[in-house]
Amino acid sequence: MTTDEIPAIVERHLDDQGGLISILEEVQAKFGYLPADALTIVAETTKRPLVDIYGVATFYRAFSLTPRGEHLVSVCVGTACHVRGAPRVAAEFERQLDVKPGETTPDRKFTLETVNCLGACALGPVVVVDGHYFSHVNASKVREIIEKTREGLDKIEIKTDRRIFPVEVSCSRCNHSLMDPEHPIDGFPSVKITQSFGQQHGWLRLSSLYGSYNIEEEYKTPYDTVLHLFCPHCHTELIGGSDCPECGAQMVPLILRGGGTVQICPRRGCKGHILDVG
């Protein structure tokens, strides 16, 4: 990402009455922080004085003028966590990462911050790392949290994790099974449907493991596009689901063997889904 894209971001928010915060949020999402150049460009394109932009960028806790690390460790120091020992947890993170709150480790792996309340007071002291919550944290759990983060918090063992399980689905129109045992993904029969994007039509195979997002496709489709999906048997377009809870696109309903439905988001890259069993 270069600063060239900033005018486009500004453009998108010009109609918003209070757009500056949204602009800065989006810029920060792209860069991970607010570089000085970016602030100047925002000032130029919004035709607002740089001091205003700087004022907003430094007023709110969410913005950072320095680069952040790969992982963000937020130690809650809200009152409830404070009385249950959060200061010692924060001190232990400081000690082990050897940075002060607000700072990033020299290897850019970790940024440590303290936050005033995450609203999970019953679980205090709470630490959130990249959106993963750790509850009832005490100083002796700190090392483990850092190690888990280094290993990858999203890492799942598809083979051994019992939260991951295969499902069998069929077309919501013709009820024909969509399972393709010939082409397994993750070691299980894949779910085969037809996808269409622009002029291209081709097969799309999804992992049938609930919790795995592995796919194979005949034609590469760009990230973030909403695809049209069809049943390869009755050729009907698979539509009529509810809105994706993550991105709002209309989801694709499929019938589950064993009862119930599963809806998947047709947007490439979106992990939104709803599994209804009753």
Binding site: G85, V126, N138
Partner: protein, 1064 residues
């Protein structure tokens, strides 16, 4: 989704959904709000889905995923409808069993909720104390609704109010109804919502662009009800906003929500999208001509943006600085247009008011404060979570009946309400009714409903400092007095908490607090002083202790506490120091560290209640504390006491001091007075010295030779011991002064057993425990025969029971206690040992009648108790169960329900009056132990009631200092410096891996067979290797204070390096 075109269509759509019959099958409800998900609710959901699919249960069991239901302490849990069986704190393995039993209409008893392992399980959620006293009008909906499904909301009465309003659009009626309901703003200030709406309605001459803003910038740390409502029932907020918009003719709404609440944002976005698609929002809503749409604005993290004028600036895209009011936002708000700002909870109440009607709504609560309020009950409380109660409920009901009281045995001290703008309310005021006005009167505010419970281990100076740190950080800086005032107040609090404070600063702090409150513009500044003012009002004594005594009683302020083990020890033993020496194998140094603080090291190594272990920082990091007492035992068994010789005053003084009572307090005072050179005479009523240590503590805990050896060492040339001299009979205080004693130390203990006050207590075979124990320990008399019953749950009761068991004519021993084993005040290791020795426990029973035959005990009639409400001690009150009486045949009954001082002996007629407290103890000043008559000091059990040996030793040490000051004519209470670690003991190099492998070492016990038939000491010393390993577990809190700074270290290293160079 089908877009509805007219109001009629909408109404029939609603009717259809509501009338659709619910499937007749069990439903598993899982709380998957932020708290639930953080505790693993998603894993539970996965397993439910997997099981359902694999077993084809689609038609037989339903699943509902809800937002936060409030019982966050028990997450992740499953609630099974229709029986409302609650299965708390589940693991994935538990799920299949729950599903299977739900299918059969059964329950899994062992997984059901129970208050503790000593309680029966609760079958229905409604019977659980946490829920029983709540009125969950608003929060209860969260349990019934999947927040991402608009149909769920509609089916449970959702959008009924909107239908009512749209059927006959009448803004005046809505405003009137809201006014009538008496609803006050739930965001904190409690401004009447109807009045606000009325002004908003009239503003802008009733026309032009107006805005509705939902304030979901819940920045008050410790409050999370708004998050839960937006997350768990977003449509209720939307419905409230729609009704508000109709009432004031607004066409645009904003929800300003903290970015720290991603799930709430997600659910609100879904709800808005669904409402739009259904046609309930957007242009020309249901063909009524009304336009209204909502946009979500994410707060970027600034507490002050919860203030309405700052919030407006923030939505407009500026820095969130507040501005002067008036004009109020209802006149001039967003972009200068009338803007009505309401809190999430306020808006969630609107559909209820409109649906039920204002009068019906106002029936809940108290006059002037109608409806319910949600509180987030957090901090040092057993049942953390969200609770909803009618306004006017007392704090006590919330904390004890709903919250279940304190987590462990540490009593609750105060509750903080209202967050950084609120104040602390002490436990004495817990009968206060919770409403906007009573809380303000008590120096706090309702605020958004955060209730942070604090116990004796929370320091009030630290709390004030915490909030001030928060406020100086969050102050926007516009007003000088807020910007600088919060900073200065913080600095003063920092000085106090770090031991640099002065009493003058305390006055300055108070003055500053008033100035800041009086001279700032917005709510943040005006209330910023509340945490300081309220803690000063109720806990001034704690501030003074920090300043004058250099002491933080809660053990929080690091610079005053030093090492918690040392600061908690009543006699200031440097536990860390001897533990460090043990790890290094330096046993003599370890002994010296112990003996310097304690004239009775071997005794304390056996019977001390080891407060040091309770506060040990290792024990607060998720593992068990260092076994400090066992380490002391290891050392005192190993080292010859003669290696330590206390420093004595060179000159003998001629002044005589009388000490009455040769228990631990009296002996200690005598020892230290003797070291100062005073001539001490001890008068002891019994035939041998030692007091309770001798007469009550059994030899299997404290062998007699150990006791005698340490007492003998105290009796030096300056000390004269006169046994068989009883106060009030053989000596009187007046006489002692007449005989030339300069001061008298009264340490006669608490020698009178409390009575059951039942008829027949004088019969043969019934003994007060103190008499029973004395008879054996002093005279070797075995009073227990046959079947023995002991009434009580304290150490004295357990001692009596275990002593009885060792007597020769005893068949069985039963311990009778009115509460559960969990609540017994005796040391847990003693209770366990009694259990091992086959002593029977009859808990939850209360004696009601003593049965006798010809003046001799034959048995006791008891009634069974159940645990009722929580009393002032924070424990559940035993309540007799009618018709549960039973008879226990007994030959001996020992009554061990506490002792009290025998005040008649202290102040017999003719004596100078010494003030006696209402509870029958002798009055002595808390700080300098002087009684109401000059020259008389008192300490130990006679002042405190039955207490521990180490507290008595502490009183003795203090008495010696005070008597010395008194005789020399000095001020008794003098400023003291905090006792923080000073001696540097170099730590051993231990890797974290090695450390993580170490487990707390437990001292070995002699075999049970040997125990029950003899008085041989039960506990043995730790073997040397175990002791060393145990000592290595210490976190060495002292090093922070004693370790040479890096600079010094480098200098040292340089020195060593240069030495090496020289030598080569």
């Amino acid at each position: 989704m089908y877009r509805l075109a007219t109001v009629e269509e909408f109404l029939s759509f609603r009717r259809q959904i509501v009338e659709e019959p619910e499937p007749d099958r069990p439903c598993l409800v899982v709380c998957a709000g932020t708290g639930g998900q953080a505790s693993g609710a998603n894993d539970i959901l996965r397993i439910i889905k997997r099981y359902s699919l694999e077993h084809n249960l689609h038609e037989q069991v339903s699943l509902r995923v809800t937002g936060c239901q409030g019982f966050c302490e028990q997450d992740p849990f499953i609630l099974v409808e229709p029986g409302k069986h609650l299965y708390p704190r589940l693991s994935m393995d538990d799920v299949p069993r729950i599903i299977e039993s739900a299918l059969k209409g059964q329950v899994v008893e062992e997984l059901l909720y129970r208050e503790s392992e000593y309680h029966e399980c609760q079958h229905c959620q409604d019977d659980i104390p946490f829920f029983k006293k709540q009125t969950r009008t608003i929060l209860g909906k969260n349990e019934q609704i999947d927040p991402i499904r608009i149909f769920d909301y509609t089916r449970r009465g959702g959008y009924h109010a909107l239908g009512k309003v749209l059927l006959n659009i009448n803004p005046e009626w809505i405003v009137e109804e809201v006014k009538q309901s008496g609803l006050r703003g739930r965001g904190g200030a409690g401004f009447p919502t109807g009045v606000k709406w009325e002004s908003a309605q009239a503003a802008g001459n009733g026309s032009g662009q107006k805005y509705i803003v939902c304030n979901a910038d819940e920045g008050d740390p410790g409050a999370y009800m708004d998050r839960s409502l937006l997350e768990g029932n977003p449509h209720a907020v939307l419905e409230g906003m729609l009704i508000a918009a109709i009432a004031i003719s607004a066409t645009k709404g904003f929800i300003y929500v903290r970015s720290e609440y991603p799930l709430a944002i997600k659910h609100a976005l879904i709800a808005i999208r669904q409402a739009r698609e259904l046609g309930l929002m957007g242009k020309n809503i249901l063909n009524t001509g009304l336009d209204f749409d909502i946009e979500i604005v994410r707060g970027a993290g600034a507490f002050v943006c919860g203030e309405e004028t700052a919030l407006i600036r923030s939505i407009e895209g500026h820095m969130g600085e507040p501005r002067q009011r008036p004009p109020y936002p209802v006149q001039k708000g967003l972009w200068g247009r009338p803007t009505c700002i309401n809190n999430v909870e306020t808006l969630s109440n609107i559909p209820v008011i409109i649906s039920k009607g204002a009068d019906e709504y106002a029936k809940v609560g108290v006059p002037g404060n109608s409806g319910t309020k949600i509180f987030s009950l957090v901090g040092k409380i057993k049942n953390t979570g969200l609770v909803e109660v009618p306004m006017g409920t007392t704090i006590r009901e919330i904390i004890y009946d709903i919250g279940g009281g304190s987590i462990g045995k540490v009593p609750i001290k105060a509750v903080q309400t209202g967050g950084p703008s609120g104040g602390c309310i002490p436990a004495e005021k817990f009968d206060l009714s919770i409403d906007y006005d009573s809380l303000a009167e008590a120096g706090s505010i309702m605020g958004s409903g955060g209730m942070i419970v604090m116990d004796e281990e929370s320091c009030m100076v630290d709390i004030a400092k915490y909030y001030m740190n928060f406020l100086r950080d969050e102050s926007c800086g516009k007003c000088y007095t807020c910007r600088k005032g919060t900073q200065r107040m913080y600095e003063i609090l920092e000085d106090i908490s770090e031991g640099r404070g002065t009493l003058e600063q305390l006055d300055l702090l108070e003055e500053l607090a008033h100035v800041v409150a009086d001279t700032t513009m917005c709510g943040l500044g005006q209330t910023a002083s509340n945490p300081v003012l309220s803690t000063l009002r109720y806990f001034r004594e704690e501030y003074i202790e920090h300043i004058v005594d250099g002491r933080c009683r809660a053990g929080v302020c690091k610079d005053l506490v030093g090492a918690p083990c040392q600061s908690t020890c009543p006699i200031g033993t440097e536990a860390w120091r001897y533990v460090a020496h043990i790890a290094r194998g330096e046993y003599e140094d370890a002994y010296k560290a112990i003996r310097e603080a304690n004239p009775f090291p071997s005794i304390c190594a056996r019977v001390c209640d080891h407060k040091c272990e309770e506060r040990c920082r290792l024990g607060q990091t998720g593992t068990r504390p260092v076994a400090i007492r066992a380490l002391k035992r290891f050392i005192t068994d190993k080292i010859d006491p003669s290696i330590y010789q206390p420093t004595k005053a060179l000159e003998k003084k001629t002044d005589k001091v009388a000490v009455i009572g040769a228990g631990p307090a009296g002996l200690t005072a005598s020892h230290y007075l003797s070291l100062l050179g005073y001539q001490v005479t001890i008068f002891e009523a019994d035939s041998k010295p030692g007091g309770m240590m001798f007469s009550c503590i059994p030899a299997y805990r404290l062998p007699r030779e150990v006791l005698t050896k340490e007492i003998d060492a105290i009796l030096d040339e300056n000390v004269t011991l006169k046994c068989n001299h009883e106060l009030g009979k053989d000596v009187t205080i007046e006489k002692l002064f007449a005989d030339g004693f300069k001061a008298v130390f009264v340490a006669v203990g608490a020698q009178k057993g409390r009575r059951l006050r039942l008829e027949g207590e004088e019969s043969e075979g019934v003994f007060p425990s103190i008499e029973f124990l004395k008879a054996y320990n002093i005279n070797g008399e075995q009073l227990a025969k046959g079947r023995v019953g002991v009434v009580g749950g304290g150490n004295s009761a357990v001692d009596a029971a275990r002593t009885a068991l060792r007597q020769k004519d005893v068949q069985s021993v039963t311990l009778l206690y009115r509460r559960t084993r969990e609540e017994m005040p005796a040391f847990s290791e003693e209770i366990d040992a009694a259990g091992e020795e086959a002593i029977k426990f009859e808990t939850l029973v209360m004696p009601i009648r003593i049965l006798t035959d010809k003046g001799r005990l034959t048995g006791i009639e008891c009634i069974r108790n159940k645990l009722g409400e929580i009393d002032y001690s924070g424990r559940r009150k035993p309540v007799p169960i009618p018709n549960s009486e039973f008879i226990l045949p007994l030959d001996t009954l020992v009554v061990a329900i506490s002792e009290q001082p025998d005040v008649d002996s202290i102040s017999p007629s003719g004596e100078p009056e010494l003030k006696i407290e209402d509870d029958g103890t002798l009055y002595a000043d808390k700080y300098h132990l002087s009684c109401s008559r000059p020259g008389v000091f008192a300490g130990g059990d006679v002042v405190t009631g039955p207490n521990t040996v180490v507290d008595a030793i502490a009183a003795g040490k203090k008495a010696a200092v005070m008597i010395d000051r008194y005789i020399r004519g000095e001020e008794l209470r003098q400023p003291e410096r905090a006792k923080v670690p000073q001696n540097y003991v170099e730590p051993l190099e231990i890797s974290e891996e090695e450390l993580s492998q170490l487990r707390r070492a437990e001292p070995p016990h002699i075999p049970i067979e040997q125990r029950t038939s003899s008085f041989v000491e039960v506990e043995m010393a730790l073997p040397e290797d175990d002791a060393k390993c145990e000592a290595m577990r210490c976190l060495r809190c002292d090093l922070e204070f004693t370790q040479p700074k890096e600079k010094e270290l480098t200098e040292q290293e340089n020195e060593t390096a240069s030495t090496v160079e020289h030598s080569t």
